[in-house]
Point group: C2
Chain length 340, copies 2
């Protein structure tokens, strides 16, 4: 690919003049500008952003480190980030870590060597992550997404996971449920998982109901109903579960139907994230909606405007759905919802 010097020669000007045609066109006389543009068009010249970045010491690429793209929450967020970044003239270098710290470290190292202008990242555990101090040492501007740093005060954009899960659990309690379990994917050591379980416990303790241990699934994207089935039997059967993401909840709804367990009559199922598809199902999925697009938008915004960095907590929203109802077989005074 041709360079500025070649363009300059063809246009009969100096390289500096040719350069100005792209970096500061209004500095040139209209006719010389046109000469340069004609020459560059003829040669198929395109400014080399790599050379520009080396010279100006300023990149127009942001890095993005996400755990996965299989959860629509992340892909929606990514799409929003890409739009916002592109509108500001930035591109996005994207990588996924699958929550593995080694991968997180390798990716961050790659981003640093690429000299990205900033990094939006979601790590397993913000308070025990090796990469955040690394980023700070390297003076690379970054914004945590979803993570909620408790100890350190890293810039972050998130929802109040604890309150969100508390409210969701309260909603189930209000419906009359007392045997409510929380279903989670792997990575219980993640900061969000901890906060959500705390929120779950908050609500139950407030209702003087003992919390149950987390039911941990092997996958983030699909639950295993066999883990749940035994708990639906016995003297105190589970009447409601709340999942830490919607994919788990949706797969449970399907499995329950296949197992002959009626949702919501026999088992109420609630999700977390509020992905779009949940609203399309029958029964529709009750969930805690996170503003994933907004979250992405804000993350990029915080990189673009350094002054705006800090902790930004976005509002979540309880989304009702037909996947939850009052428990059957249990007469709630004034609310007789028994089905059998």
């Amino acid at each position: 690919m041709s360079d500025l010097l070649t363009v300059a020669k063809l246009a009969g000007v100096s390289r500096a003049t040719a350069a100005r045609a792209f970096s500061d066109p209004q500095l040139l006389r209209p006719d010389t500008l046109e000469k340069v543009l004609a020459a560059s068009a003829q040669l198929g010249f395109r400014p080399n952003h790599i050379a520009r970045q080396l010279r100006t010491q300023h990149s127009t690429t942001f890095g993005v480190l996400l755990p996965s793209l299989l959860n629509p929450v992340f892909s929606l967020q990514l799409q929003a980030m890409e739009r916002r970044a592109r509108d500001a003239g930035y591109g996005l270098l994207v990588a996924t870590s699958d929550y593995q710290p080694e991968r997180e470290a390798a990716i961050v190292e790659h981003m640093l060597r690429q000299r990205v202008a900033g990094l939006v990242l979601t790590v397993a555990d913000a308070d025990n992550s090796a990469v955040l101090p690394t980023l700070e040492e390297a003076a690379l501007p970054f914004v945590l997404a979803h993570n909620v740093p408790q100890q350190a005060s890293w810039p972050a954009v998130c929802v109040d996971n604890r309150a969100a899960m508390r409210e969701a659990t309260q909603q189930l309690l209000t419906l009359g449920h007392r045997q409510i379990a929380m279903v989670a994917g792997p990575m219980l050591q993640s900061d969000r998982a901890r906060l959500r379980y705390q929120g779950y416990c908050d609500a139950l303790q407030q209702a003087a109901t003992p919390p149950l241990p987390v039911i941990e699934m092997a996958s983030h994207t699909a639950a295993c109903f066999d883990r749940l089935a035994p708990l639906l039997q016995g003297a105190t059967p589970l009447t409601a579960v709340i999942c830490t993401n919607d994919l788990l909840a949706i797969s449970l709804m399907g499995d329950a139907a296949r197992a002959g367990v009626a949702v919501p009559q026999q088992l109420s199922i609630m999700g977390f994230d509020g992905i779009d598809i949940g609203t399309r199902l029958a029964p529709s999925l009750a969930s805690v909606a996170q503003p994933a697009g907004e979250l992405g938008h804000h993350a990029i915004e915080m990189l673009l405007h350094p002054v705006s960095r800090g902790l930004r907590v976005l509002p979540h929203q309880l989304r009702n759905g037909a996947s939850i109802a009052a428990p059957a077989f249990i007469a709630t005074p004034g609310n007789p919802h028994e089905t059998a």
Copy 2:
């Protein structure tokens, strides 16, 4: 951030030696290598990939241009591409076009200026795309994903959309359906939409059944049941629909249930893509599964190994599901599947 010269000084070697410690370590004596590494660690030095790229004229970043990330087919493909690329030491610059040619052009221009080493892209219509000749002129290696160029012979990896849709339609015909409609998102002018409709027509004509016009929805991610409801009435009601992607199908399943239309008894619904979540639903979604991960893997592979470029057609797979069954109210000789 410090540079090689600083490292060299601290290590007591020349800048070239320091450089070799990173570009070609085995050229150095073990003790000098160690000296350099110690110095660079002390300074927090990281090789500048931008400078390296300018010098070597070789990038380790691939560009990726996708229509959207809201369809799991694309996000799964992207995740697979990222893994494969990273294993080879490459990063991914990701952008989405929403099928808009202007956005496609702007993104390609951006990628060219960034001097990416190659580009994986999905365009609206490969045979009428302005960007592909641009890429060829610029001599940027690229691979089309999903697109099926008919006229030109661009490198591409895809499934046989026409055959896939023909087989899916045939399956519905075999079940006894005669009133089968195809439901599509916007962008009917896309190459894949055309091919899939052709496949649909192929199957119907082979069965001496007149094809119906495409039912076009306003969104790629959710169908509008109101467009369908009228066609379920009358003398020749629709008994089956096949959607051009699973999200449309899933939303139709939910809407049908809410409208009191039994799936599959009154209406069989089939999808296309084979996204994972379809298998979790009740009823499970019958679909034509595309190997999205494999497709992404191959696309990167084709960029990494120029000799392997060309047209690569991946196998699709008919996935059965509980969302389709023999039509009710219609006696198929030897197959009396009536429910009423």
